[in-house]
Structures are given as C-alpha cells and as structure tokens.
C-alpha cells in the first residue's frame, strides 16, 4: 500500500535525498534510516514469505530481521540499520524466482 506509514514529528530541516521505491522516485531526508526513507513514503517494506500479508518491520533495532529489503541488483539490506543514501533504489514487491540467474 502506498500510504505512508511513519509520521515525521520533528527534525525536518535536514538535507533532502532522493530514493527510488519500486521504480518510483520518492523523497527522504539525510540521516534517515532506509526504513524511515521507505515508510515515510509507503506502508510496506516487503511481502511475507509464508503468508499473504505485507510487512513493515517490527523491532527497529536489528533484532527481528523483519525489515530486510533488496535493491535493484538483488542485494539485501536490513532497512532499520542501514542509512538511506541519495540514489538508493529499492524493491518492496514480491521477489521473482529468477534471482539466481546470472545476468
């Protein structure tokens, strides 16, 4: 769902950065974690492997491992402990089975 989940309450004077989410350009702030960069724009980080629901992280401290996302090259990042950088392009959709195929 594209409705932003997190609400910014303060610290909004930081420099802007651009990230791409599922192919769409979005805006975030320098110093955001990747999780905040994503969830201030959308409501999900990934799809559950074993259920129909989307997930949006859980513990925010690198313990639950529920916030892993992947970039366009299939590299995996734990969104809550990764700093968002300008130019990051992330997919939150269900991954394809072609992931092991070499380019």
């Amino acid at each position: 769902m594209n409705v932003p989940r997190f609400v910014r309450l303060a610290e909004q004077g930081r420099a802007p950065i651009r990230v791409t989410i599922d192919g769409r350009e979005a805006h975030a702030l320098e110093g955001d974690t990747l999780m905040v960069a994503l969830l201030s724009n959308t409501g999900q980080l990934r799809h559950s492997e074993f259920g129909p629901e989307v997930r949006s992280g859980f513990c925010l401290m690198g313990a639950c491992q529920d916030c892993w996302v992947r970039d366009e090259q299939g590299n995996r990042m734990r969104a809550c402990t990764t700093t968002a950088r300008d130019g990051m392009a992330v997919r939150t959709t269900k991954e394809e089975a072609t992931w092991p195929t070499l380019a």
Partner: protein, 462 residues
C-alpha cells in the same frame, strides 16, 4: 607479563562502564558494537545532524545519557573501537566478527565481557503480524532516533514501565495516542509497591507518567486481555480489540500498535560460549548463570547488563564496571577492588526493584494458552498456535528443540527471539508440563544473519 587481551561486546551502559574500568587499569580493550554509535538502546544516540537536545530525547535521564556519551568519547583514544561490527560466533578464546557486513576477523581474547543488552519481550496476539504492529521499543526508537511516530494514531499495549514511558514520550512529541492498555491489573501493581520502593525515584517517575497520560485524556486501561490486532494483508493494522478486567469487549481504531511485555535478555553469545543457563522463576525465562560479580560458568567469560539480568540502565552501568573489575582481578591485575562490595550492594538493591517490577508487571503467560489456533506465533516462519499444539499432540514434541525440528518454530530469521517464550508457554500448556521442563531453544551461530558475501577471516594478533 603481557596485558590480558580483553574484548567488550556492546557499547551500551554496561559495555561503556566495563571499558572505562579496563582503561583505568591501563589496558586497551577492544569494544565491539553492532550500532553505528555508542549508547546501546536506552541511551541510543540520534544520527549526526539531528538537533534535539538531551532533555528532549532522554527526559529525566538526560544527564545520565550525557555522562555516558561523554565518558565514551573520552575513552575512544584508549580503546580499539569496532562500531557496526557484529560478533557472529564464538569459540574458545576467539570471537568471530564481521564489520560493516563485509570484513571478517577472528579476535583472540583472554577475557570476554558480554554486554549484549535486551530486546522487547513479546507475547503474540492474533494479528500482530500485520504491517504497523511494532514492539514498544521500536516505537521508542522511531521517535528517539528518527523523530518519527510509527503511525498517525497509535495504541500502546502490553505491560511494563516502558508502556507508560513510550506513550508519554509520544504524547510530548505531538503524536496521537489512542490508548494505553496494560495486561497487569492495578491491584498487582499496588501489591508490588514495597519492592518498587527500593528505588523511590524511579517509582515516582512512573507514577508521574501515568498521571500525565490521564490528564491528557489518553484512555488508560489495566487488567486487560488482548484479543486481536485487526487489519488486512495489504494495508496493515486498523485497530485493536481487547477484553477488560470484567470481560467486556472494547475496540480502538488505530493504524499502529506498540506492543511489548517488558524485556528479554539477549543470551546468544553466552549460549555459544557454553554458559550454563538456569530457569528464572520471577521472570519465567532462562537466564545465563552468573555469580555476584558477573562471572559466567564459562572461564574467562563475564556477563553484564540487560543481557544477563534486566536491571535497567543504572544496573547495567554498575554491573559493567563490576564485571570488568572481576575480570581484572581474575587476570592478576586487580584494580579498584575496594569498590566491588558497594557495587554488589547497588546491584542487590536494583535486583529488588527488578523483582518488584516483575511483580507489578508480570509476564502474562496465561494469555499464550488462550491464543486461538489461527494466531501466528512465529512471525518469521508463519507457525500458528494451532501448529504448535498439533506438534505436541500429534507428533509427540515435549521440548522446545524437538518442537522446532518438527514444526519450524524459531527457524526463521530472528532465530526465536520474538516467538521463543510464547512458544514455550504453548508447548508446556499443550504437553501439560511445567514451563521449565520444555527447555529453551538452543543457540546456534550466527548470532544474527551472516551475509554470504563475506571473505575468509583473518585472525588478528593482539
């Protein structure tokens, strides 16, 4: 005689004070921490470039937070500091680390002081897997570290002092708090007052928070039983349903839930070090055995802070220092030995408060057996309460590791951190066994997911 090689794992209150004691004694310890910055969880630092003040971030604990951060800054030139470094495994005298998710190393040690801290302790509720349901600690981190609320309208549910603290922090920061729902009843809290009075300042702070929430018009309920987090697969959380102490159903609309039942010690490294664990009756969880100074049952391995006993930040600072002094003494480099009795005494006082907190805000284990079969228990693997019950009833599992082997509970990415305790309650209930008889999930490395891109490790010389 060469200096003993000492590694401290964790740069929170316990780790920082341990490192400080070691540096005072003339050593240069290695400090390994997963975070980008020091401070651990409770004194988690905001990223560089954020502008909020210490009182804004840490409230009544602002001075303590500042002291801790300043102490660490002063220590930095005297320690081998490894931030963003995960201790992913451990063998006798060797710590296996990965830095930045990329660079591996094997760090030899003579003494290891593990200050691994804690996570929230969770008890599943139907629907807790929906997007928008977070731990209480997560709700706090979102605010403290990123100045965000986890949603537009938040319900906080569970038990423990953190419940009221986070709710009041959200309120102060301008977020919308719909309700604070506590499974502990007022009467259990009142009965615990004598023990809580062991630390009167903390008790007073707690009461003030409750009063502040009430006067702001936040709906406070005690003695509740969570029924479900409502929502849907695509949009996530839409509300919370519960029963009050009289059994009547209530519901609140919200788009985010902060859920938590006090804390759970991170014992994975202690487990890999083959430390002995004992079942702790007051908290109904397995804890690594330590003596009064923090020595574990494994030679050369010391445990301090919330990773060994949930005593809070002040307790962690005292325990960290004490464990370091014990390590120094054991290594034949005694330092400040005269302080050890008073540190032990402080810890004993804090332990009294710990028991008071557990009495006031007990882990509502009976709620596990009330979970409907369809409720997801293991979030990572999608294992339901019904699956667990069937594993006991039909496949004969009477113990946690057997249940794991047969139904996959605890096999997911979080390795049982968030489902382990509730799963044990369910297995014990279904097997009609006392909780300690079903045991605990056996720790296996890596402590956290290890990227498969990492190279062979270099063994570092001290």
């Amino acid at each position: 005689m060469a200096d003993p090689r000492v590694i401290v794992v964790g740069a929170g209150p316990a780790g920082v004070r341990a490192a400080q004691a070691l540096v005072e004694a003339g050593l240069r310890p290695t400090v390994v921490d997963e975070g980008r910055r020091d401070g651990g969880q409770i004194y988690r630092r905001q990223p560089e470039g954020f502008a909020r003040s210490y009182p804004q971030l840490y409230g009544t604990e602002a001075q303590k937070a500042k002291d801790l951060h300043d102490s660490f800054e002063a220590l930095r030139p005297h320690i081998d500091y490894r931030p963003e470094t995960l201790a992913w495994n451990l063998t006798a005298g060797q710590l296996h680390v990965v830095a930045g998710g990329e660079r591996t190393a094997v760090l030899p040690y003579d003494s290891l002081i593990v200050c691994s801290g804690a996570t929230d302790r969770l008890l599943p509720v139907e629907g807790w897997h929906y997007a928008g349901c977070y731990s209480l600690g997560a709700a706090q981190i979102a605010l403290k570290s990123q100045a965000c609320s986890i949603g537009k309208r938040v319900v906080f549910m569970g038990t423990g002092p953190l419940l009221y603290l986070v709710a009041s922090q959200y309120l102060k920061a301008g977020a919308q708090v719909a309700a604070v729902l506590d499974t502990s009843s007022l009467s259990t809290r009142i009965r615990a007052l004598p023990a809580l009075a062991a630390r009167p300042a903390l008790l007073w702070n707690g009461l003030k928070l409750v009063a502040m929430l009430r006067s702001a018009g936040v709906r406070l309920m005690a003695g509740i039983s969570p029924v479900a987090v409502t929502g849907d697969d695509e949009r996530g959380v839409s509300g919370v349903r519960l029963r009050d102490a009289q059994g009547r159903e209530h519901s609140f609309e919200c788009d985010a839930v902060g859920l938590g039942y006090h804390l759970r010690s991170e014992g994975q490294l202690a487990d890999l070090a083959k430390c002995h664990f004992d079942f702790d009756e007051p908290s109904r969880q397995w804890l690594p055995r330590i003596d009064e100074d923090g020595r574990s049952s494994a030679p050369g391995v010391y445990l301090a802070g919330d990773g060994a006993r949930i005593l809070g930040a002040d307790g962690a600072e005292a325990a960290g220092r004490l464990a370091a002094l014990a390590a120094l003494k054991d290594a034949g480099r005694p330092h400040a030995v005269v302080e050890m009795p008073q540190l032990r005494k402080r810890l004993a006082t804090m332990d009294k408060f710990r028991r008071g907190l557990l009495q006031a805000f007990p882990w509502p284990h009976q709620l596990a057996s009330q979970l409907p079969d369809r409720a997801i228990v293991c979030r990572c693997e999608g294992v339901s309460a019904g699956d667990l019950r069937a594993t006991v009833r039909d496949l004969g599992a009477q113990e946690m590791n057997r249940a794991k082997a047969l139904c996959r509970v605890g096999m997911g990415r979080c390795q049982g951190r968030y489902c382990g305790h509730a799963a044990a309650e369910l297995v014990a209930d279904a097997a009609v066994l006392p909780i300690e008889r079903v045991g605990r999930l056996r720790g296996q490395g890596p402590v956290k997911p290890l990227p498969m891109s990492v190279p062979l490790a270099v063994e570092e010389q001290a």
